[in-house]
Symmetry: C2
Subunit: 339 residues, 2 copies
Amino acid sequence: MPVTLVEVAARAGVSPATVSRVLNGNYPVAEATRQRVEQAVRELDYVVNAHARALLHSTSGIVGVVLNDAADPFFAGIARGIQTAAAGTRRLSIICNSEGEPSQEFAFLDLLRGHRADAVVLVGAAPEDEEFRTESAARAKGLQTNGTRLVLCGRPAPSPSAPGDVVAIDNEGGARAITQHLLDLGHREIAYLTGPAGRTTTTARFVGFRTALEQAGVPLDQGLVLGGDFSRRSGQLAVQNLLAAGKRFTAVAAANDLMAAGAVSALREAGLRVPQDVSVVGYDDLPTAVDVWPALTTVHVPLEEIGRLAVELAFGGSGMQTTVTAPTHLVVRDSTAAR
Amino acid sequence: MPVTLVEVAARAGVSPATVSRVLNGNYPVAEATRQRVEQAVRELDYVVNAHARALLHSTSGIVGVVLNDAADPFFAGIARGIQTAAAGTRRLSIICNSEGEPSQEFAFLDLLRGHRADAVVLVGAAPEDEEFRTESAARAKGLQTNGTRLVLCGRPAPSPSAPGDVVAIDNEGGARAITQHLLDLGHREIAYLTGPAGRTTTTARFVGFRTALEQAGVPLDQGLVLGGDFSRRSGQLAVQNLLAAGKRFTAVAAANDLMAAGAVSALREAGLRVPQDVSVVGYDDLPTAVDVWPALTTVHVPLEEIGRLAVELAFGGSGMQTTVTAPTHLVVRDSTAAR
DNA sequence: CTGAAAGCGCTTACAG
DNA sequence: CTGAAAGCGCTTACAG
């Protein structure tokens, strides 16, 4: 059984209230008394019960992080930023893997609400359907009445009136920039590997791609647009299919780095050289982007910074609903060359 | 302000006790009563206060995970296994990044104790000094008296008598196997890149390397043993130094995949081909090992499985102190060739 | 089947 | 500077 404050008080020969006071250091206590209490705490190896404390304060010192998969480097990077920033405010982070399942996401949200999390950060693309949005808005309201701050990272607010701050990512701008890079190199037949269907990030990145083509007056060939799911394997498969179908293309733009790595691997299997025969670009600038050979030209997304911003909005915020947009920028490495 | 159980009771026209009973479903309740309560819960969007509940049960539904860095794929893999298995028991996981700092590790342990975590899983190599071991053993005892189960993952118990289960990794066996692979290919001048000094994992892997050489009657050249710290950069630097010093070697064995990736990159910069000129091997078999070009020959470590095992020991365990050792095995890919 | 009451481990006005 | 008492939001014997 854990040691309680009452036992500490008994050993120190004072009242529980006094022990509480020296522990919290928010009231004057006689030096001699303090000494005795501190010694008792040490001797009994006492640690306050965080639940009893949370019951009084109705605050828990916990930040909930809900994401698809903490082992995915994209999410890991953001989670790390959140974790570090939260620790800086003496708060603990709870990581919850939703596997991209809305039902799991909602379940975690309820759990975190029950734990009276100080804040919840919801990371990653959201499904684009109306039902999800309605449910999300309801959950957001529930968290708010519980006093839990909500921050969305990399997804838009479910409705203009829903509570919660937003750290947006300039997905469209980055996609435009990297597509422009390919166009500048003379590429006209560019295959595009999308993210999973019906997700906000997937759409934003594709729109950026399409917009850049339009602005350059290059027609979009629907036959070169392939559905992926952000996994390495899906990028590899897509390019294999493209090749098997005998499609002509001189560049591949993948909606993230993992698919780009898969694409490179499929090209190499087919005896094609990157970038001499085909240029490849990714998105996210994950740490692994420099380990792929050739090192990936990609769009940098400041993952840790995004996590840090989320925590800042949650606790340092003005109290007003705020949206900040994290900038993205092109990083040119070795996987792209002039046509 | 959050809705309380008393308010739900008032709206449903029953006593708080009755609401508690329908919520927990562990007592008979009249169907009509149940209906009214459930409706009130829905209308008020009520969620039980996990802290109040934890205060009664002295259990929190929380699993603490303490590791160096959740963004590192090695830790991310194990954390994922823990998280999934914990969720399977309806428990939430708290991830704490200690940055490899013993002081931070201890601080998190105390925090988790205060939160009455059901279990704490401590992941990663431990420092080898006596002071750390003593402190660790004391913390282990503290957790035990709190009723928190402790599991060590990838590190040995601080003392034979310290409470806590262990999921060990066969680091030495894997290192022996991969070194043997290089020897079988005819390599005799093998550079070795170590992990950070004074860590259990570093030692175990190096011992495996040394043992394999000894058994083959190949002398160990201390000039070919370079200190790294498990980071990609340190692997790259080590090989650059080796090259600058004009050392002869036909293979590089890195104590993990990240350093192996760095080594490959340094070799390539110097105009050397892998594996034609120099063979390179890693350790861990991270997802990224297949993205490195050439794909890395390495030692597979069942990361997710290790996490799963940890949770199993914590909650399914016999109650007796148990150590299980996760097996490792050689994975031959493209970064090694015959001398 | 249901309610009144005690209690989990702490904190904090309220007295002194 | 310190203690007695009430209360945070729940659960669970104890009665009925």
